[in-house]
């Protein structure tokens, strides 16, 4: 089935135009001089200055980053454990419930996750006296719980695909199990663990629904600030904030992609060297 290049190019052109025109339009309008966010009124960078001077937004960003770093790190540890267990331990008591719980949060609507986690905190405050006030701790616990399953999925896929013959070879050649773990299994899974961390970080940094249910007064994350502004309509300073986000994320994704690609290339080269008996 040969397709003409024109068809190929027009399909991709239309698709990418659909994906990127809204973002580009938003970026353009962040430099709009007019108060009306959707009507062009000349070039200006005043919304960026306003953003920088807005303490509420800077404070919310710092809180969001703190929550994202802490929750992504815990989620990566727990998610890697789940991924390893699901990929390697085929039979143990309660495996069905275990894999069910490791999958269900992926498909649970966020409203339900938010409300049910809030219920847990309310009842535990009533009966156990904790948490007295919802905020950093409760939001972080909720974020860890729903982002760890994403990490688990990525790590599980990677460990299942990894060639176990290499591990067995190392064991036969006299490596101790912990050496095999540190020298072979974990380095093989490392790109997956790193992308898991990045995914958990982004999910946490981006979440509105679950955060809005599990947070309390005084702990407003950046998405919640944007959410309360955006509900009232389009405003130019949110355009500026969005533009900065897209630029930072774009650079971040490009860097991460480059690092992962290099790690992958090095791994493939090492494997080839190993097979050839060199190295």
């Amino acid at each position: 089935m040969k397709r003409s290049p024109t068809f190929l190019i027009s399909v991709l052109g239309f698709g990418f135009a659909f994906l990127y025109i809204p973002i580009l339009s938003m970026m353009l309008f962040s430099f709009n001089n007019s108060r009306l966010a959707t009507v062009w009124g000349g070039f200006s960078t005043k919304w960026y200055v306003a953003l920088w001077r807005n303490d509420q937004i800077v404070e919310a960003l710092v809180l969001s980053l703190k929550i994202a770093v802490v929750s992504a790190s815990f989620a990566t540890i727990l998610g890697t454990m789940i991924g390893f267990v699901l990929a390697r331990f085929r039979r143990f008591r309660g495996r069905t419930l275990f894999s069910g719980m490791a999958m269900a949060p992926l498909i649970m609507p966020e409203v339900i996750t938010g409300i049910s986690t809030l219920m847990l905190f309310i009842l535990s405050a009533k009966w156990l006296g904790w948490p007295v006030e919802r905020g950093f701790a409760t939001v972080t616990l909720a974020h860890i719980t729903f982002s760890m399953v994403f990490v688990a999925t990525i790590v599980q896929a990677r460990i299942s695909q990894a060639d176990r013959a290499i591990e067995e070879a190392a064991m036969d050649l006299g490596s101790r199990p912990w050496q095999v773990l540190c020298d072979i299994t974990l380095p093989t899974a490392f790109p997956a663990i790193l992308s898991g961390w990045l995914l958990a970080f982004t999910i946490s940094l981006d979440d509105v629904v679950i955060t809005s249910f599990t947070t309390g007064p005084g702990s407003t994350t950046l998405p919640l600030v944007i959410w309360s502004k955006v509900k009232l309509g389009v405003t130019p300073d949110v355009n500026a904030l969005a533009t900065l986000t897209v630029v930072v994320v774009g650079i971040g994704v490009a860097l991460a992609g480059w690092v992962l690609m290099r790690a992958e290339k090095r791994r493939l080269r090492d494997e080839r060297m190993a097979y050839r008996g060199g190295g």
Binding site: V11, P22, I82, E167, V209
Partner: protein
């Protein structure tokens, strides 16, 4: 059990580390995921009370109150909300498939170096904020925007003068909800489709062509059936989150015909009727059991494939 005796896995079991690695996430998920869900399930049978928290069991109230579930079928607000959700999510899934399939197919036909860049461009919007991607469309759909102006002028050019409009009312409609859903979930459709299309063997196409198949027949008989796993995965990845969506209908949707996610949030926050919110939530999950079963069977088969490898 063979895998207990040798290798790394065996060592984990002998040292008791396996138990630890199973127990920690097990306890975590039981306390922070399963238990909260059971609380909501219990709350759906409670009675609304003027206490704090605003629900209770027993006393003057029935221990098991099914009034919430009864209202689900009696009050057509809920039935309409369910239908709106299924319709919006279904149309969005279909449109994602119609736009995503040719894109995924085209991605398998471009050169290797372009492919990496283009795939990156598909994923990039997914890493930027979901909320801001919804917001980007608010800027385009608004009555005073250049996009709306452009569409309005095109419309006025094409239709008789009596039908001319000053602007196209796109915001706060189910059209806007579906459009933004397609926009935000399109990468979820393209990536699994690409993954399954990339694996196809191009020599099969050539063989069929040599044997006299027309391109449309090759597509229908070879490409489409083989990409079915990708279609199922992509469809579920779009439909499931879209059906329970809260952010998109709140920002661009029509509050006159809300989707179910918004009904749950409103019952909980505005109406302060927690048992009713819980009943709607449980009903939504029951409705999702169907797609979930398809999903888990699909996952299980994937796991099976992975375990069959040497």
């Amino acid at each position: 059990m063979a895998d207990r005796s040798h290798g790394l896995t065996g060592w984990f079991h002998r040292r008791g580390w396996a138990d630890l690695m199973i127990a920690v996430p097990y306890v975590w998920l039981s306390v922070l995921f399963l238990l909260p869900f059971l609380i909501v399930l219990g709350m759906s049978f409670a009675t609304r009370t003027p206490t704090s928290p605003p629900f209770g069991f027993g006393g003057e109230n029935p221990v098991l109150n099914v009034a919430g579930y009864a209202r689900l079928v009696q009050d057509d607000l809920y039935i309409r909300a369910f239908l709106t959700s299924i319709l919006n999510a279904g149309v969005a899934t279909l449109l994602c498939l119609l736009i995503g399939y040719p894109m995924a197919l085209a991605l398998t036909r471009v050169s290797k170096s372009w492919r990496t860049i283009l795939l990156m461009l598909v994923i990039l919007p997914f890493w930027t904020s979901f909320l801001l991607r919804v917001y980007a469309w608010m800027g385009l759909l608004a009555k005073s925007s250049w996009f709306n102006g452009f569409l309005t002028e095109t419309w006025n050019l094409l239709v008789p003068i009596d039908w001319a409009l000053r602007s196209i009312p796109m915001m706060h409609s189910n059209f806007a909800v579906v459009l933004v859903m397609v926009y935000t979930y399109l990468p979820f459709m393209i990536l699994p489709l690409y993954a399954s299309l990339e694996r196809l063997d191009p020599t099969l196409d050539e063989a069929a062509m040599d044997l006299g198949s027309r391109p449309s027949q090759v597509f229908r008989d070879i490409t489409l059936p083989q990409s079915l796993p990708g279609i199922i995965a992509g469809g579920l990845l779009v439909f499931i989150p879209a059906a329970g969506e809260l952010v998109i209908p709140t920002l661009v949707g029509d509050s006159g015909s809300p989707m179910i996610g918004r009904v749950i949030a409103d019952e909980f926050s505005s109406a302060n009727d927690w048992p009713m919110a819980a009943s709607v939530a449980v009903a939504l999950l029951v409705l999702m059991v169907g797609p979930m079963m398809v999903w888990s069977r699909y996952q299980a088969r994937d796991d099976g494939l992975a375990e069959d490898r040497p």
